[in-house]
């Protein structure tokens, strides 16, 4: 009956809950989308140009947008470093059963994303000796350090990630996630991952944001004085490189961040955001150099 649509027995409409882990960043996607739209709109007006200039125009638009996108996605990206392993691991506090899961960690400039994804996603987890559940194991938790270090401990004046970690403990997020996050809350001698990533992230973030206006200026200038535009693109790339250098050098001590699990160790390696900024920086530098040279020699 049409009047009963999505309802049974005249009761209220009911739809099943869809518990899902946040798997991607809306802001990030938004930016990608925005750049795509921009590129698309430029591509649409390209036919208005004649001959070789059509090609040039296309190139300029694409290159510049690529650089801009790489900066924005670098600033906002959650994947400057990442690590993932598949392991057997304890899951929750009240049970003896272990689960099989992928434990992952994605580090952005201001936060770390910790994921736990069962392999398979649905697993039977003991609750007490007699009760078992089939649980959907798919978690994604984000912990921020942007940009407060705070006092030692977990109190109101403690650092942001410490407080978020404590909140996560109260919420009772799965143990592997807690273990990973806890690494960022300890702060003493050389166990200062939270501090290292916060500091590196902070400076990299600042420097990379600075690249944004420079890139904008470069774009404006490229309609005005090509030589300056070239210089500005090179300056843009310098800021991008500096942020990369900062990110990869500011670390307390020398031990790499490694978080051992039963079947493997989470070792971090540079992720997509990092490489995007690297490529954006290289493109920007070359592009700037070429423009500047072309302008001086022609």
């Amino acid at each position: 009956m049409i009047f009963d649509a999505w309802r049974t027995n005249g009761g209220p409409t009911q739809h099943p809950a869809m518990p899902t882990a946040v798997t991607s960043d809306v802001l990030e996607i938004g930016f990608v989308f925005a750049f795509c739209i921009l590129a698309f709109s430029f591509v649409l007006i390209i036919p208005g140009y004649k001959g070789v200039s059509r090609l040039y125009m296309l190139l300029r638009v694409v290159i510049s947008l690529f650089i801009g996108a790489s900066i924005f996605l670098g600033v906002l990206g959650q994947d400057w470093e990442s690590a993932e392993i598949e392991t057997k691991t304890a899951y929750k506090a009240f049970t003896k059963t272990e689960i099989h899961a992928k434990v992952g960690m994605k580090i952005g400039l201001g936060s770390v994303n910790v994921t736990l994804k069962g392999t398979p996603i649905y697993q039977t987890v003991g609750h007490s000796d007699s009760v078992n559940f089939t649980e959907r194991i798919d978690y994604n938790e984000r912990f921020h350090w942007a940009w407060r270090q705070g006092r030692i401990g977990f109190g109101p004046y403690a650092g942001r990630i410490n407080q978020e970690f404590r909140q996560a403990q109260y919420r009772g997020v799965p143990l592997p996630i807690q273990w990973v996050a806890e690494y960022f809350t300890l702060d003493g001698e050389l166990i200062r991952w939270g501090r290292s990533y916060r500091t590196a992230g902070w400076f990299a973030n600042q420097v990379l944001w600075t690249a944004v206006p420079v890139w904008l200026i470069a774009n404006i200038l490229s309609c005005v004085v090509l030589f300056y535009a070239g210089c500005m693109f090179m300056v843009t790339s310098v800021f991008m490189f500096v942020s990369l250098i900062i990110w990869s050098t500011i670390k307390w001590g020398t031990q790499p961040l490694s978080i051992p699990f039963e079947d493997g160790v989470l070792y971090t390696h540079y992720g997509s955001s990092f490489w995007l900024v690297v490529s954006g920086g290289i493109v920007s530098f070359l592009y700037g150099a070429i423009i500047a040279m072309m302008d001086t020699f022609t």
Partner: protein, 1523 residues
């Protein structure tokens, strides 16, 4: 069996209790069994009326050590107790912000070493802040008995202890059985123990990695920890062997489970009964609702009874029980002694343990009696506990008592009640076995009040003979029971499924002895079954007393953290101070070098000129045999001098500029006497030639030799002319005083002129009265003062040798003295001003009747015309001049035959057509009616000797004549003007200077407020914001941010430095906006201009910069003080204040001063900022911009560095999250966009065609008009000079009109840039060099473009606001005189020029004259209002006007037409003026009024228009622009 077993016991104790996941976890609050004992019930440590803790400790807790425990407790028991305590309690972190509870050492009061430094403990944030929640300490250990001392308090900590192989804990390489050194650097507590100077933080790698952050505290504790470490690995190995397929994790988990279980069993069922003398009740079941938290009674008092058991040292034993005596070298401070001395082994011996093994220590500890369990504590704890760097030896007992007060422990009796024990009523009840003397001391200390007795003190002295009456035992048992019963994962809890019954049995049977046996190489049989009691030990018991040691505890030392820094501090201060001075020095060097180069260049040029001169001299030599030429500097004033070439020729001394222009000429034909002064000290390079009536010739030579030469020449010259010269020698300073320089002379002349005019016009008595007294001395000088022809010419702005000037001078110089006396000059002026037309005609006639023949012949006529032309700057060929003369002669009715004009002819010609002009162009006299003026004239004539002399002009002094003529002429003019109805009212109002100082100041203020309304508005807003920022930050750091605690360390420093930092941020951001020039240029055309004085952007820029400088100084002083404070506070305090840069690792050592200044980003950038700022400011000084402009411009671009540094400076966020970039971002974006607009404007070099230095420091530049440069009259441009920095643009109004081929500017030198520009072009002109090119930007501004749309327009220009009208007026003339003109409705234009004195804008007179010369003259009627006449009258303009008005009429119409400019003295009356226009131009319905000038004026015009518009007559549309 593949399921994990014990992972649910988390390292951090979480999720043990399922309902309260955090129970028992680190960071939880402690609890209190009894009520709190704070003296205010909330948070105040109990102190009132209580004895000094140190005194208590000294009186009650010291005593004979070496009394063995009567119950046979072993030393192992004591240190195991420390181990258990560390497992359950950690309250040693300081409260943050730090709160001092230092303990005074009363007996040391006099000495420097009278304080035991102590801080209050960390407490639960929020507790203790109000009445219902007293302060409660934090426990940073897990409250569970869970081996957190073995594995660490957190997951990640534990993982740093693991090897990840076969489930083992990580062992040191090469030392199996020992934990690794802390190479991966877990945050162990790491105090600075070495007493080296300066002390250094210990390398963390020297410590062993334990779960217990303080595991390295003493070797005995370490030993016990190593036993447990080995036990874990022992179990792991066993499990690994049994389960070869198990993963590391599985093995680790199981080994840990078993380790903890055996540990729990031993601690609870073996150790605890031994300590409290009774067995705890057996385990019943898990009580989920049991709170495991540690109580303060337990942690702060009861559990510390163990202090009493600790011996001074432990004898190390070999398997055969023989002591190791003496101890080997490896035991460092204890080497060579019979036992390890506790006080000398704190935080040491890690290496020795690894090398020599723990077995000897274990055997020693298990076989040695602990100290008796009484109040007495060994010196090693009570007097020689390790301590902070400020005091390396502390008293543990005093500290514990104080800690009890800090924690708000309730008194002994109260706590007893809580635990159901009867309170004691007399001190003797406490412990009957105590000697009376001790009881007496106790009684005395607590004023015989048992209710004051403190928990710890009393607890330590309790009678232990009856365990059931011992409060401490009760407290301990109660705590352990809660810890056990509330633990879901307790090994005996069958429900948790950790162990089955047989396993449980196995655990229960595992004793400490078993564990020791399993983990040491010594035979099991060496240890008694209960290692916590010496009973049954195979080794005979040994008692260790402190007098057994040959070495005593190392003494207390304390360091002053600032020791050795005073020098560095001073050094840094000097370094910072040096920055500005060095920059200043460098700047001066650059400026000096530039001047030197310039002087050199000029000298070369001068030599050329000199050579040229002397060669021309050679030619002249035929006529005059003498003629010395030398070059020198003429000193013109205080610090003004010019390079001149002096030529002694004939009777005259002539001074030429290096370009060969004659500057001065002094002829000695009239004098017979002169003086020569020479300086006799210093460089001996100065001479002064005194010239009567004129200013002295003050010459400076390059050296004394040149001077000798010159003096010789001068004396010869004087001799030759028969002048008697007196030569004086005097000190240079005296000479300078004596010399009348040009400057001094000018000051005199000014007074001279003013007084002349005052007399001539008979005005301004008020002013004169006012200044009479002041000027009495001057007046006398003035009376003596005489004017040279040169000076007259200068005042009139004409060439000294022009016919007009010469004739006028000769005419006025009635006594032919060659100088005009005061009288002579005054007569001339009076005649010019007030004489009848006939008188004036007569004067003119006399002037040009050069040969005094009584007639003007054709030659003289021609000269006359030429002279007028010359004045007007016009040029006519000789034929045209002759034609003009013919016309005049014809006018006079004189044919070709007659060759000369008589006075009558002349007067006729002159007055025939132009009488009305003579009439109307009379000087308007403020407030003086015509008749009154006449009367005054009359009086003046009678009063002055002039009347008599006036006869010499041949006109009767009788007024009748003149009046008659005048009347006739007046009626004449009436009929002429008859067609236009009514006269224009153009009278001025004059405001006399106020009499009183107050009134003057008030008026001055009023005027300034009126004119600077917008400035004031903007300043108030700007500085209002600044003050708001200052106050906000200051109050934040004084009151708001108490919890951060910096203020309590630095007091004023932080308040001042942060407040000023906020203001600096605001100022440095705003300074960018003042330089966003395109934005400003755009905005000044908008309505915003009514609010913001955009033209003052540069002045504002400087002001902001200087205010920011002051703020910076405060900022730096503040932080210099802060850094001092930071250097003298120990690390824990700093770690609390600056969590971003410090971690409290126990080392206590603050960072050094140099670290703060040079090794932090903030400090280093601060220092660099100071350097940058020093350079920027020093090079921005007026002096620098004057003399090394390029250096200024280059260094000024350090502002980019400044901004980058400032961002970096705050980026660390030490004190607060950085904010500067937030301040900066908007201005930076605006500035950058603005810069881009500038860059994007294509820069074309503009060729300068003509550069002319006009009088009064005005430079007239004429330059090419770029193609497609379209502008409207009244608009302005910005120019940059290629030679003065291509980026610095200055705005100037175009004075050329749109139709003209070239562009022109009139630039007045007011500051460095404009002066430099003038110099630049003047030099170029003088040396006939190429004129430097310009960059041009613009045009900007709307200009007043609508004037021609009105039939009648009124243009009002005031002050600098007159500049646009130069162009507009020209434009008007052009438009009306060309064909276009016929289409425009404009019929009449009134131009009103209001100025303080014309001196600053006199070039405009040229333009007006030009205007009046052309057709525009009819169209435009000009009125000039000189408002500051009385004070600052300037002769030139007035003279010119007088002359023009009276004399230019003579010329032919085609050459000079309709000069109508009228000068008024005072401010215009706009309303009356405009009103008269309505009457005059009745037919016109709408009039346009365009004004430009100070706001006061434009407002005045606006008001006038508004008032008139109310009357239903003509409409006035007012447009204005403010300058």
């Amino acid at each position: 069996f593949n399921d994990i077993l014990n992972r649910n016991r988390r390292m951090d104790g979480w999720y043990n209790n399922l309902d309260h996941p955090q129970w028992g976890s680190p960071g939880e609050r402690m609890i209190r069994r009894s009520t709190n004992g704070y003296s205010n019930g909330i948070n105040k440590p109990i102190e009132d009326g209580l004895p000094n803790p140190h005194t208590l400790s000294r009186l009650l807790m010291r005593g004979e050590s070496g009394i063995p425990s009567v119950t046979g407790k072993s030393v192992f028991l004591a240190f195991f107790g420390q181990h258990v305590g560390d497992d359950m309690i950690d309250s040693r972190r300081n409260a943050c912000p730090s709160e001092y509870i230092n303990i005074e050492i009363e007996e040391n009061k006099e000495s420097n070493n009278h304080i035991l430094p102590m801080y209050r403990s960390k407490f639960i944030t929020g507790s203790g802040s109000s009445v219902n929640s007293p302060r409660m300490l934090v426990n940073e250990a897990t409250s569970w008995l869970d081996g957190s001392v073995i594995y660490g308090n957190s997951h990640s900590w534990s993982e740093h202890l693991r090897s990840f192989e076969r489930g083992r804990l990580k062992e040191e390489d090469g030392h199996p059985g020992y934990p690794s050194f802390n190479r991966n650097e877990i945050p162990l507590y790491n105090p600075t123990i070495d007493l080296k100077r300066p002390p250094k933080t210990r390398n963390p790698e020297e410590l062993l990695s334990f779960g217990n952050p303080r595991g390295n505290e003493n070797p005995f504790l370490m030993t016990i920890e190593i036993i447990w470490f080995r036990w874990h690995n022992h179990l792991a190995e066993k499990i690994a062997v049994q389960n070869p397929d198990w993963s590391d994790q599985q093995i680790f988990d199981k080994a840990r489970k078993w380790t903890i279980a055996t540990y729990q069993n031993i601690a609870f069922y073996e150790w605890l009964p031994e300590i409290i003398g009774t067995s705890p009740p057996p385990y019943r079941e898990y009580n989920k609702f049991m709170l495991p938290s540690v109580s303060v009674e337990f942690s702060i008092a009861a559990m510390r009874l163990g202090h009493s058991l600790v011996p001074s040292g432990v004898v190390l034993r070999q398997p055969d029980c023989s002591p190791i005596d003496p101890l080997p070298e490896d035991y460092l401070a204890s080497a060579g002694e019979p036992a390890l001395r506790l006080c000398n082994t704190y935080w040491q011996l890690q290496d020795a343990l690894l090398d020599l093994g723990i077995e000897g220590i274990v055997l020693g500890m298990t076989s040695q009696n602990a100290e008796e369990e009484d109040a007495v504590v060994v010196d090693d704890l009570a007097g020689f506990l390790y301590g902070p760097l400020k005091r390396t030896r502390m008293d543990l007992e005093a500290m514990t008592i104080q800690r009890g007060r800090d924690a708000g422990l309730q008194r002994y009796n109260e706590v007893r009640k809580t635990y159901d024990l009867p309170p004691i009523t007399d001190f003797s009840q406490l412990n009957p076995s105590l000697p009376n003397e001790v009881i007496a001391r106790l009684r005395n200390a607590y004023n015989n009040d048992t209710n004051k007795l403190e928990l710890y003190v009393a607890g330590m002295m309790e009678d232990r003979s009856n365990a059931s009456n011992v409060l401490f035992y009760k407290i301990i048992l109660e705590q352990f029971q809660r810890t056990r019963d509330g633990d879901r994962l307790w090994f005996e809890n069958a429900q948790n499924g950790l162990f089955n019954a047989s396993e449980l049995q196995e655990i229960r049977q595992t004793t400490m002895r078993d564990i020791i046996a399993a983990t040491t190489t010594f035979n099991r049989s060496l240890f008694q079954p209960n290692v916590f009691n010496t009973a049954g030990s195979r080794c005979a018991s040994i008692t260790v007393r402190k007098d057994m040691f040959s070495k005593s505890c190392t003494p207390n030392t304390g360091i002053d953290f600032f020791y050795g820094y005073w020098g560095k501090y001073a050094g840094i201060v000097v370094l910072l101070l040096l920055f500005p001075f060095v920059s200043y020095f460098v700047m001066c060097m650059i400026a000096w070098k530039r001047q030197y180069d310039l002087a050199k260049a000029k000298k070369i040029a001068t030599q050329k000129v000199t050579r040229r001169k002397s060669s021309s001299q050679n030619e002249a030599e035929i006529e005059s045999e003498d003629g010395a030429v030398f070059s020198a500097f003429e000193v013109e004033g205080q610090d003004k001098s010019r390079r001149v070439v002096v030529m002694l020729e004939g009777t005259c001394i002539k001074l030429f500029s290096s370009a060969g222009r004659e500057l001065r000429k002094i002829c000695f034909s009239h004098f017979k006497k002169s003086f020569l002064f020479m300086s006799r000290n210093k460089r001996k390079d100065l001479i002064v030639i005194r010239v009567p009536k004129e200013y002295d010739v003050v010459l400076r030579f390059n050296d004394s030799l040149e001077r000798v030469e010159a003096i010789k020449n001068v004396q010869e010259f004087m001799q030759h002319n028969g002048v008697n010269v007196d030569v004086f020698e005097m000190d240079e300073s005296a000479l300078k005083e004596e010399a009348v320089t040009k400057e001094a002379r000018q000051a005199l002349l000014e007074t001279f002129l003013r007084q002349t005019f005052a007399e001539a016009l008979n005005i301004d008595d008020a002013v004169e009265q006012n200044s009479k007294a002041k000027y009495r001395h001057k007046t006398m000088e003035v009376a003596d003062c005489e004017l040279t022809q040169m000076e007259l010419a200068e005042t009139m702005g004409m060439k000294p040798d022009s016919l007009f000037v010469t004739q006028m001078f000769q005419l006025a110089d009635t006594d032919h003295s060659g100088y005009l006396s005061f009288r002579e000059f005054a007569d001339l002026i009076i005649l010019l001003m007030n004489g009848s037309p006939e008188q004036k005609a007569k004067m003119l006639f006399d002037m040009y009747d050069v040969d005094h023949s009584g007639e003007i012949n054709r030659e003289e006529g021609r000269n006359m015309i030429k002279s007028f032309l010359e004045m007007a700057g016009a040029n006519l060929g000789p034929d045209e001049v002759s034609a003009a003369v013919s016309t005049i002669f014809k006018e006079a009715g004189i044919g070709e035959n007659k060759d000369s004009l008589t006075l009558e002819d002349f007067t006729y010609v002159l007055l025939k057509d132009h009488r009305e002009a003579f009439e109307s162009s009379e000087l308007s006299m403020p407030g003086i009616t015509k008749s009154l003026k006449k009367k005054m004239n009359h009086q003046a004539h009678h009063a002055s000797p002039m009347i008599r002399r006036q006869d010499t002009y041949g006109t009767s002094s009788e007024e009748v004549n003149g009046t008659e003529i005048r009347q006739r002429v007046t009626s004449n003019s009436d009929t002429k003007e008859g067609k236009s109805n009514g006269k224009v009212f153009s009278d001025a109002t004059v405001s006399h200077e106020e009499k009183t100082w107050f009134a003057r100041t008030w008026k001055y203020l009023k005027r300034n407020v009126e004119n600077y309304r917008r400035h004031i508005f903007c300043m108030v807003i700007f500085y209002g914001i600044t003050i708001a920022l200052l106050v906000e930050r200051a109050t934040l750091h004084a009151y708001g941010a108490q919890h951060i605690g910096i203020r309590r360390v630095t007091e004023w420093g932080i308040i001042i430095s942060r407040a000023s930092a906020a203001a600096i941020s605001f100022h440095f951001r705003s300074i960018l906006l003042t330089m966003s020039r395109n934005l400003i240029a755009t905005c000044r055309e908008t309505l915003l201009k009514n609010l913001i004085p955009f033209d003052s952007a540069v002045a504002f820029h400087k002001q902001i910069a200087y205010v920011a400088l002051v703020e910076t100084i405060f900022h730096v002083l503040g932080h210099a003080s802060n850094f001092y404070h930071f250097c003298v506070h120990p690390l824990p305090v700093l770690a609390c204040l600056f969590p971003k840069i410090f971690v409290d690792d126990g080392s206590d050592l603050p960072k050094s001063l140099t670290w703060w200044f040079f090794e932090t980003i903030t400090g280093l950038t601060g220092v660099l900022l100071l350097l940058t700022i020093s350079i920027i400011y020093v090079f921005a000084m007026q002096y620098s911009r004057r003399f090394c402009f390029r250096a200024f411009w280059i260094t000024h671009h350090l502002y980019t560095v400044l901004y980058i540094l400032t961002i970096l400076h705050g980026s660390l966020g030490i004190v607060q999250a950085p904010v500067f970039h937030f301040y900066l971002v908007v201005p930076v974006v605006i500035f950058l966009i603005d810069k881009m607009i500038t860059i994007s404007r294509s820069k074309v070099q503009i060729t300068v065609i003509k550069a002319e230095a006009l009088p009064s420091g005005v430079l007239n530049l004429v330059f090419k008009r770029p193609v497609a440069f379209d502008y409207q009259s009244g608009q302005w441009v910005r120019i940059a000079s290629l030679s003065l920095g291509t980026n610095e643009y200055h705005p100037f109004t175009l004075t050329s009109a749109p139709h003209e081929r070239y562009l022109s500017l009139h630039i007045r030198s007011v500051g460095p840039w404009t002066s430099n520009l003038r110099n630049l072009y003047q030099t170029a002109v003088e040396h006939q060099g190429k004129l430097p090119n310009l960059y041009l930007d613009g045009p900007f501004g709307e200009g007043h473009q609508d004037w021609y749309k009105y039939e009648v327009s009124v243009l009002v220009g005031a002050g600098i606001g007159v500049t646009p009208f130069a162009s507009i007026l020209k434009d008007i003339v052009n438009r009306t005189s060309t064909k276009k003109g016929s289409h425009i409705p404009c019929k009449k234009i009134y131009f009103i020029w209001v100025t303080r004195t014309q001196r600053h804008f006199e070039w405009l007179t040229d333009i007006i004259r030009e205007l009046e010369e052309t057709a525009g003259g009819d169209l435009v009627s000009t009125h000039i209002y000189i408002t500051q006449f009385a004070n600052k009258y300037d002769l030139r303009t007035t003279m010119l006007y007088i002359c023009e008005r009276y004399f230019q009429k003579v010329a032919n119409k085609s050459m000079f037409t309709g000069l109508k400019a009228i000068t008024h003295f005072g401010r215009p009356q706009f309303e009356a003026f405009l009103d008269s226009l309505q009457t005059k131009h009745k037919e016109v319905r709408t009039l346009g009024v365009f004004s430009c000038g100070p706001p006061g004026l434009t407002n005045g015009v606006e008001d006038a228009c508004r008032n008139l518009n109310k009357l239903n007559k003509a409409r006035f549309n007012h447009f204005y622009e403010n300058f």
